[in-house]
Symmetry: C2
Subunit: 147 residues, 2 copies
């Protein structure tokens, strides 16, 4: 929403790239800018097409590589789905709830009340008609914590 937020995120991502010793190529800067600005959780394909507007020779592989790089630096959040492609969040690269339309694929961020809300309550807030949901926690099980 706020213009300054996108700019701030852009700077943060660029700083992270610099700090990691990565090169600031035009393609990377383009991806960063798109991720910092888009509130619609874009797909790789969508980012690809937008980058192509400025750099027509860009390869899809470059987008994937850049996404992967930003992700492992914690600068983008990947929303991976099993049957459709992944979606990316560069504005809030930390875990937070999402409401997803199974028909058009729209993804919105409900204002997170602290995560201790019920599914039904979230449905009301977003105006979505919730059919089902998914709540996953990732980490190491007791057996695996011993390295």
């Amino acid at each position: 929403m706020a213009k300054g937020l996108a700019e701030q995120r852009r700077q943060e991502m660029i700083a992270a790239l610099r700090a990691g010793g990565h090169r600031l190529t035009p393609q990377r800067l383009a991806v960063v800018e798109i991720l910092a600005e888009s509130a619609n959780h874009p797909s790789v394909e969508q980012v690809f097409k937008r980058v192509q507007r400025d750099f027509p020779t860009t390869s899809l592989a470059t987008i994937y590589k850049t996404m992967s790089l930003l992700k492992q630096m914690g600068q983008v959040l990947e929303l991976g789905f099993a049957h459709w492609g992944s979606r990316y969040d560069g504005k809030k690269p930390y875990p937070h709830p999402h409401v997803i339309c199974t028909r058009c694929g729209a993804i919105v961020d409900p204002e997170s009340p602290g995560m201790q809300e019920l599914a039904q309550q979230m449905a009301g807030k977003s105006g979505f008609r919730i059919s089902h949901h998914r709540l996953d926690f990732f980490g190491l099980c007791p057996r695996c914590q011993g390295r």
Copy 2:
């Protein structure tokens, strides 16, 4: 846990197949039995290997088809992941929280306190060391609700 629960789920799945006008083939019955009994959220590959013990000529496609059928009848819950294969829950085929080990792939069902718990709290209960989590709601957005 209880022996009777698996048997009950098996009966329910068979009844659902009958009600849907689907044939009770040996392969389907084998898949149903495995899903009703396994508490470890098996993958397609795991189900496949177990069915093969009884029916060596079984095809992987058959398992996929059967899983898909049971899923669309609401008799199994699919836990789809973007980068690894899907996992299936035939014991509790309705949305509920899962705790997943990112190292060994173990999946356990924490006793669901009503879903209004924080990630940190769930970590304590399961003994897992949570690194990140995922909370998704699926449904129709306002624009799509108008068919």
